[in-house]
């Protein structure tokens, strides 16, 4: 059989275009119009590529399979290749990267309009954050996964620090210090997995763990599981690392937080699926993942409820809803995985809606503290409508998208005989509504003081209005026709549950 390996054209483009754009906008430095044109064009191209790309692989290296029959014979047949460093673009990658590309397009359009000077490097960081998240989503080898996670951590720090202010720089410093611990842990996990299985390729390593009897290696497997989980917790901002991540979300500009939270959710999905596929059959592994997820949901929502600033509330809600994503993956069933993946898609959309509304509150010169503000609804009625719609979507109210994914998650928990988990998910939904509505009432609906009152209405900038309308439309469409997203996700979940050797 003369099968040849065909590399997919779109995968290198999804990696190279952000790098080239980052270099160009960095060089343009303070030429606002040029940066805006280049970055919007690049983001649009990335969106088109992610939407139209077929599915396939990109191989960097691989070793020919060796058969031993007295002498070693190298067989170049594709089916005997032990694929090593590779990227994969499938339905899951398509929907996740398409959503991220869409968000990047509008985030870049908003930020190049709102920032005043020298923002070339800032936009470069935005594109590199996209790159790291796309790479994490597509990689199918531990080596690239490790590098992408490490780069992603440094980019988070860079993007937050570039948002300016002492609080942002402090958040970046703390996050970078902890990234050292997590990155080192991931490197050790990679080395241990290599030592046990001999494979850097994730699918090969998973097959090796499942096919070979590794009962004598349980201690090493658990150590590598622990280190991989540490990087999952860190990169995704799960408990007990949540204070660092929420600090990061709150300190960055809200439009930058759109990209940061998207990167976190994609990382949670990618590493979560690797953990599940590789260690899911180990005793207590899924239980450990589930415990962390529940802890994250509960701590996140409790912290959100006691905050007095809209930005902090959103930061902790992002953390809490990360737990919703991981709880589905940790359940490990088909329905649980579908629910977790769908929640990830929905979550980045409605949280982006709320974050852009938060950005507009700041843009109108209003504070985000719920103690000292009020009366914005009279002067910005359209923004008030958007923020209420975002709240309903985040709280899982029908017919918005959050309802569909949370319903699947609750069904998955009940199917597994875990009504407690279903109750926690329900509690997160209700508490999300309370936390957000408290802020909305204080900032938008409560009568403001005389200094804040005025007759002139605040007008939403055109690009922002388009972004908000598009986000609301997506939340509604996915809420009414969830199959549009589920068609992509069910295929991926089926592969994880029933055909573990396909990435």
């Amino acid at each position: 059989m003369n099968e040849t390996i065909t590399n997919l054209w779109s995968i290198p483009l999804l990696i190279v275009i952000p790098i080239l754009t980052a270099i160009v906008v960095n060089l343009l430095y303070n030429r606002g119009r040029a940066i805006r044109a280049v970055s919007i064009a690049s983001a649009a191209v990335l969106l088109v590529i992610s939407l139209v790309s077929p599915y396939g692989f990109q191989w960097f290296t691989g070793q020919p399979g060796v058969t031993y029959d007295g002498t070693y014979t190298f067989n170049a047949n594709v089916f005997s290749w032990k694929l090593s460093l590779e990227y994969y673009y499938g339905p899951l990658q398509q929907i996740m990267i398409s959503v991220m590309s869409f968000l990047l397009l509008f985030v870049v359009a908003i930020s190049t309009k709102s920032l005043k000077k020298n923002f070339g490097p800032y936009i470069a960081l935005m594109f590199l954050t996209y790159l790291s998240a796309a790479a994490i989503m597509m990689v199918n080898d531990f080596y690239h996964l490790w590098i992408a996670v490490e780069i992603g951590s440094l980019l988070v720090a860079g993007l937050v620090a570039a948002s300016g202010g002492g609080a942002a720089q402090k958040a970046a410093l703390k996050y970078t210090f902890f990234s050292a611990l997590s990155g080192s842990g991931l490197a050790i996990a990679l080395a241990l997995i290599l030592g046990i299985t001999g494979y850097a390729n994730i699918t090969d390593a998973i097959n090796s763990v499942r096919i070979n009897d590794l009962s004598g290696m349980y201690n090493v497997l658990y150590v590598s599981f622990a280190f991989l989980m540490l990087s999952w917790i860190y990169a995704g901002g799960l408990a007990p690392i949540h204070p660092l991540k929420s600090d990061v979300y709150r300190s960055a500009y809200p439009h930058a937080t759109v990209m940061l939270q998207t990167q976190s959710k994609l990382t949670l999905v990618a590493i979560g699926l690797v953990l599940l596929r590789m260690f899911g059959t180990l005793p207590f592994a899924r239980e450990a993942m589930l415990s962390i997820s529940i802890l994250t949901m509960v701590i996140g929502i409790v912290m959100a409820l006691i905050q007095t600033d809209f930005r902090w509330i959103l930061a902790y809600l992002i953390v809490s809803h990360s737990g919703l994503v991981t709880v589905g993956i940790s359940l490990g069933t088909f329905r649980g995985i579908v629910g977790g993946l769908f929640q990830a898609v929905n979550d980045v959309i409605y949280m982006s809606l709320l974050l852009v509304c938060c950005e507009m509150v700041l843009y109108f010169g209003r504070g985000t503290s719920i103690k000292f503000s009020g009366g914005l609804a009279k002067r910005a009625p359209l923004l008030t409508v958007f923020v209420i719609l975002g709240t309903l979507a985040a709280s899982g109210v029908p017919p918005f998208n959050g309802f569909q994914s949370e319903l699947i998650l609750i069904q998955a928990a009940l199917e597994q005989g875990l009504p407690e988990v279903a109750a926690v998910i329900l509690m997160v939904s209700v508490s999300t509504f309370i936390a957000l509505f408290r802020a909305i009432y204080s900032i938008f609906l409560r009568p403001g003081d005389e200094l804040q009152q005025g007759s002139e209405r605040f007008k939403l900038p055109g690009t922002t209005l388009m972004f908000l309308v598009a986000l609301v439309a997506i939340t509604l469409v996915l809420g009414i026709y969830p199959q549009l997203a589920l068609n992509f996700l069910t295929e991926s979940a089926l592969k994880v549950v029933f055909v573990p050797w396909v990435p």
Binding site: Y72, L173, F177, L181, S184, L190, A191, G195
Partner: protein
């Protein structure tokens, strides 16, 4: 009883570096000292990775013409560990550079390198 081979000693040294580095990062108050502790931690991880690839009496993992293919897998040192180390050094340098830059900025802003003073007052 664990035999004290070169590999075991190397792992012990790596563990010591990791523990010292981690303790330094968590307990030292000076930001520069924390940075130095991070480099120790990173070195410890690198040493552990290099040690993983060690094979006693092993050979360089390059398959030369005429070499025995059946013995090669048992004798050759494992190459991937040191390969990871190369990348880890690059990542370590990048992280150190970012940390150093942030420390300089924060020192200019707050006039001190004490983490307890610089990092306090998060909920402004």
């Amino acid at each position: 009883m664990i035999e004290l081979t070169l590999q075991t000693l190397s792992f012990l040294a790596a563990a010591l570096l990791v523990i010292i580095g981690m303790a330094g990062m968590l307990y030292l108050d000076n930001l520069i000292k924390k940075l130095i502790a991070f480099t120790l931690l990173s070195d410890g991880v690198n040493l552990a990775l290099v040690s993983l690839g060690y094979v006693q009496g092993g050979i360089v993992p390059i398959l030369e013409p005429g070499a025995s293919l059946s013995d090669f897998p048992n004798e050759a040192a494992l190459i991937f560990g040191p390969g990871i180390v190369l990348t880890n050094i690059v990542i370590g340098v990048s992280t150190t550079a970012i940390l150093a830059a942030l420390i300089v900025i924060l020192y200019k802003r707050y006039g001190t390198l004490k983490a307890s003073k610089v990092l306090k007052g998060e909920h402004e």
